[in-house]
């Protein structure tokens, strides 16, 4: 049991359990935290951040980074809302196609020109954001189909909805492909050591293009569904998704150095963030506390993951040893 919990995928769930216990203790006797509404709100937020974090997390497992997901989400929302008035499914399909095209393009550029993903996706972030601005003429566009907006958020069985159902199914599929096929091992291999992976027969280039396509598609899907549920899309509103998605992925055990992390772990990371946010709101803490907590957690994980941390702490200990009381070395 102990070994199971100590894996990168297990750790976020230990954290999750700890957070739930703390919230229960803080909220003892008030019944604000442990109820159906909080659970529903957790899952609704899971639907917003979850798919983006999954795509971003997979690129991070392959030791790349997809900065463009933030503006991809808003562009997809705008595309879906503009094209989806007659046929909502057509809107979603168009948004997903845009996500796929953007991901494949960026992935191909990276592989063909051997560029760093941060550089290419930074250009992608600005370009995709620019397209969203041009499409909407820098305004918020409304979505006239209120029935669809109600439908995607309609609670099913108390806690589920169409929107969070999609996110949950995406995670189940990702977990299946990651553990049951060779895809998971290949992605992890590419992230740990691209050269070794290539020698072992992984088509690294195709893998990278595929992962970025997937990341684009997942961000687009989340953005389209979110815009449907808000009945509006704007080129700016969703850019902020990048920070929570990154936070969720690295809380979920994805290493910044690549080659570590699983969809199950990422799901745990997303849940940690969602429970924090919903829980804080439920017990009546002002929303800025959530920013502080997210920032603090991100900073802590960045520090814990830092390659020099061990060495620096060791050096500090040695210095304090040297200046501390002189040790008597006993002769044998």
């Amino acid at each position: 049991m102990r070994e199971k919990l100590d894996t990168p995928s297990g750790r976020p769930y230990v954290l999750l359990a700890a957070i739930v216990v703390i919230f229960c203790l803080v909220d003892w006797g008030h019944d604000r935290f442990v109820n159906r509404a909080t659970l529903f709100s957790v899952l609704q937020q899971f639907a917003t951040i979850g798919p983006v974090a999954l795509g971003l997390g997979l690129t991070m497992i392959a030791r790349e980074f997809d900065l463009s997901v933030g503006s991809m989400m808003s562009l997809a929302g705008c595309v879906a809302v503009m094209l989806g008035v007659e046929h909502p499914l057509l809107g979603i399909a168009a948004a997903v196609l845009v996500g796929a095209v953007s991901g494949v393009t960026q992935g191909t550029v990276m592989v063909a020109l051997r560029l760093s993903s941060v550089g290419v996706t930074l250009g992608g972030l600005l370009t995709v954001g620019g397209i969203a601005y041009v499409l909407t003429q820098n305004t918020t566009i409304g979505y006239s189909r209120m029935d669809i907006a109600m439908l995607v958020n309609e609670p099913v069985l108390g806690i589920f909805s169409l929107r969070n159902g999609v996110a949950i199914v995406l995670y189940l599929m990702a977990a299946f492909f990651f553990f049951a096929t060779r895809i998971g091992r290949d992605v992890t291999a590419v992230g740990s050591d691209p050269r070794a992976a290539m020698v072992a027969g992984v088509d690294v280039g195709r893998m990278i293009v595929g992962i970025f396509a997937l990341s684009g598609v997942l961000a687009a899907l989340a953005g389209a569904l979110l815009s449907y549920s808000l009945a509006a899309a704007s080129p700016v509103a969703l850019v902020d998704a990048l920070v929570p998605a990154t936070a969720a992925a690295i809380i979920g055990g994805v290493s910044l150095a690549g080659g570590r992390g699983t969809p199950v772990g990422i799901a745990g990371g997303v849940l940690v963030l969602c429970v924090l946010r919903s829980g804080l709101t439920a017990i009546g803490v002002p929303p800025y506390v959530h920013d502080i907590v997210t920032g603090g957690v991100l900073l802590a994980v960045a520090l814990l993951d830092a390659p020099e941390l061990q060495r620096r702490l060791f050096a500090l200990r040695r210095v304090s040893d040297l200046h501390g009381p002189v040790r008597v070395v006993r002769e044998p």
Binding site: F65, T108, V109, V111, A112, L113, R114, L115, S116, V118, G119, V120, L122, G123, G124, L125, L126, T127, V128, G129, G130, I131, Y133, V134, T136, Q137, N138, G205, R206, V209, P235, L242, V243, T246, A247, I250, L256, P286, P287, Y288, V289, H290, D291, I292, V293, T294, G295, G296, L298, L299, V301, A302, L303, D305, A306, P307, E308, L309, R312
Partner: protein, 321 residues
């Protein structure tokens, strides 16, 4: 799809020297086209138009020169320079009661400490710079809302009006921008810190082996970035007579665009403050032209985005590999 075949088909397997020449030709052609367009556009080359263009670009320019130091140190970019700018306008406005000089000192120290702390974490523990800057972004927004309740600061009085004037015929923001470029370029080319910065940015291991205390260099780069961002912050606060989290929105992206368009390498170790000056001028000339040709601000975002993407792709042409 074979990567090699694709690279060949685009014609990138040229010898190193040819590739450098091709790159240079493309750059010059683009620059000439831009100059021709500027001359051919009526109303662009007037004094009022140019001065308003130069003043607007100065605010971004100061941040961009600061960002250049972060990019050069091998840490790509900071996502929170915009937020740093905003929070510094608030700190500046709040500390005005101690007098203008005092408030200026407080603003510069605050901004430098805020980015310097990040630089220390990134340099000393080698924490991921992108994650650290995102964390600080969230922390800044959280703490500022905690202290101000999300409202801007609008102080009474007119001490800051001095900063809205001109030195001779040069608007103060432009003078400040040029000052950051000169100081920045001086630090980069004529000091030991500058040489170390190039070394750390281009090859961290080699820098360590050469005996450079890399965390000091990285922290220094972030401190410089904070100081230059503070230039922009105090001028912006004076211009709008307020301190507000709205002031710096998008400045991190504008700044990194200017840095990259200027030709500073995204992987660090190559670039200069003068290149960032060029990048800032190029982007603002393009934006000014687009405005005169009747394009919307939205279209300007898109075109700048495409240019940045193109520049990042072009840059590999000159790389040896």
């Amino acid at each position: 799809m074979s990567v090699g075949a694709l690279t060949d088909s685009i014609g990138l397997r040229l010898p190193q020297s040819r590739r450098k020449r091709v790159l240079l030709t493309i750059r010059f052609a683009a620059l000439l086209a831009l100059i021709a367009a500027a001359i051919a556009t009526p109303g662009f080359l007037t004094t009022t138009s140019l001065f308003s263009l130069l003043t607007t670009m100065s605010f971004i320019g100061c941040v961009a020169v600061g960002m250049t130091f972060i990019t050069l140190s091998g840490n790509v970019m900071s996502f929170c320079l915009g937020a740093t700018l905003s929070v510094t306008t608030i700190v500046f406005m709040l500390s005005l009661p101690v007098g203008l000089a005092g408030a200026l000192i407080v603003a510069f120290l605050f901004s430098a400490a805020l980015t310097g702390a990040q630089g220390w974490v990134i340099g000393y523990f080698r924490a991921n710079p992108i994650i650290v800057s995102m964390a600080v972004l969230a922390l800044i927004y959280g703490f500022v809302t905690l202290f101000t309740g999300g409202r801007g600061i609008y102080p009474e009085g007119s001490e800051t009006d001095v900063l809205k004037g001109r030195i001779g015929f040069v608007p103060i923001p432009l003078a400040a921008f040029l000052a950051t470029v000169v100081i920045g370029q001086f630090i980069l080319s004529l000091t030991r810190f500058g040489r170390n910065l190039y070394m750390v940015g281009s090859n961290h291991r080699a820098a360590v082996a050469a005996g450079i205390v890399t965390w000091r260099t990285v922290t220094g780069a972030y401190v410089v970035a904070g100081l230059f961002t503070a230039f922009s912050a105090v001028l912006m606060a004076s211009r709008y007579a307020s301190g507000d989290m709205e002031h710096g929105i998008g400045y991190d992206y504008h700044a990194i665009s200017a840095v990259l368009v200027g030709g500073t390498a995204i992987q660090g170790g190559e670039g200069s403050a003068l290149r960032t000056l060029a990048g800032t001028v190029i982007i603002s000339v393009i934006q000014g032209l687009l405005l005169l040709w009747g394009f919307s601000t939205s279209m300007q975002y898109l075109i700048v985005g495409v240019i940045v993407l193109g520049v990042i792709m072009l840059h590999t042409l000159g790389d040896s590999r």
